[in-house]
Assembly symmetry: C4
Homo-oligomer: 191 residues x 4
């Protein structure tokens, strides 16, 4: 079974998710700079979610390039990932509208956590199909970033009820881990 | 006539349908967990529709892989299917907003029924073009799942006025039939 | 310059236009059948626009298959067509909300007219690039349907102020002309 | 790393951005021509943004055709561009709703400026990967249009507080520079 349509469909869904989030940024009624102030938390939430979805798209791109073929199980593992990603606009909007309150921040982390788990399942399903010695298994490797992300989300989630600032900082931290080019962090981990 | 653009267009439409449904999940004004409770029926409706659209995309993917070429009639049979699928967000929103009332549940079933019939017409049009001995005719086979789905939707529809719970359970049941890997159920049917 | 990305981009835009129209079908607050009645003109407008966009996609698909290459002028002729198509959801919504009043019906016809002219320009630009003896010039031929559509829209437009029913009937008539398989009407015209 | 998925993803995002802007054109409640008057600034803003996004898509198409391969840095430079482009609907809506007031016009220019800078970074990243003697470096050349656009946006931005008409005229001017076929302006600059 060819992987190209699964790539095209995922591209379509992620492109739409990343774009409809901006619909939450409603133009204010005022016409001066002050009218934009209440939009700042929404804008920051949007930018953060844009980066997270960009990371997922980048990783998905790399992952599928290493894959040779897909089967029905992988199509569903992929749809499972897209399902949690599709909830990011909702979680972003709730967080953005409420100036970073505890429950919205925790829900945001929960959606990120479930997406990270879904991504992990997708990598395992791909390795199961291609074998432990395949290029894709080697490319995924120990998946340090994937595992540490799950741990960090799981930590950030309850912390949202103590300090939403710390939780938000952890989310930003996870994004930074992924934005740093692979080689460097891999060498650090190897050291 | 090449089938690749028809695949790409269908991917685009299904990707958008599956994603805009999430726009119905409006962020609540409250900021605690209780604010999310009224969204539960909407979320469940969304998840069910996501699974149905995922099943359609999966089946469409498999169907088109077995097809060698398409013609004008098939393009229209495909657009006919996409038309009914495009009404799923509307039916989902009506059902989700009304905590599973009779008419919304019946309408949801009707849209699913009409989409299932449109899919059936698409398979027949494809077989008519490729011939009874073609790979695609063999791949579709007796189309047990397709036929039983139509029957189940037709049964669930009037039942919505007696018990929306039974109707909903039947919809979930149809989804489960399609989620079970093909081989197993085919062997069971063959036995 | 390769035509594949122009096809992909057009597919994307048309897929989105065809799908966001359904967002106008807001779920009613009532939960019985009567609650759906006010949506009937919206639904009919949606169905008509879906068919028109389906016709455009079909024709675009056929046209581009006959094309060998594209240049900057064709990219812009194509974007010009997509611009008018992108206004169909707006015209559809205004017509659907106002139970087929004169101005909305006329505006709908105007958008269809401008899209038909843009499509005509696109075919001429393609012929200019490929030459009068090219496959694409032969495939387009006398373009009877294209010309008669422009004439019919131009007639239907002022008629909207006398009878919106006649205008609407002409729009439906144009759609039917395009839905009838090519061969038959071409033979009739040739006779 | 193949560039085709980056092209497909960018096509998807730009197609959605260009299309969701039309959602701002809400159908008016009145049913006569006068009801459309208040929509004129919105329509003009939409048309201008459509053209700008069309220019970006056209340039992106040309740029990627000259590119041979991409890497992680280019994927991010591309996402950075898409981020600023994704804010065009918001800036367009604010400008369109406020009949061309100072701050909205300035914000619109700011988003265009940041998108132009992001595009510039993308071209530099592509040249850095392919080398100074590559086809892409030659194709980009001195990038006169790119540089003059950045300068014009930077000038138009503060001018919005003196005269929104002049700022708007400059935006239209930049669009015209890009719409004029390349050869002519390049020869003028060379002369």
């Amino acid at each position: 079974m060819s992987k190209s349509r699964m790539e095209a469909f995922s591209d379509g869904v992620i492109a739409i998710i990343i774009t409809i989030m901006v619909l939450e940024l409603r133009p204010p009624h005022g016409i001066d700079l002050a009218a934009l102030y209440p939009l700042i938390p929404k804008f920051l939430s949007y930018a953060l979610s844009f980066i997270f979805l960009g990371i997922y798209w980048n990783n998905h791109h790399h992952l599928l390039q290493a894959a040779k073929h897909v089967d029905g199980r992988i199509l569903w593992a992929n749809l499972h990932l897209l399902f949690w990603l599709s909830l990011i606009p909702f979680a972003t909007a709730w967080m953005g509208e409420n100036h970073i309150a505890s429950w919205p921040v925790a829900l945001y982390g929960l959606v990120l956590l479930l997406a990270a788990i879904a991504y992990f399942i997708l990598t395992r399903t791909l390795i199961a199909l291609h074998g432990q010695d395949s290029t894709i298994a080697t490319a995924i490797g120990s998946d340090f970033k994937g595992k540490i992300s799950v741990v960090l989300y799981a930590v950030a989630l309850p912390l949202a009820f103590i300090s939403t600032l710390i939780s938000s900082a952890i989310y930003v931290g996870v994004a930074i881990i992924w934005l740093i080019p692979d080689k460097r962090i891999e060498r650090k981990v190897a050291a």
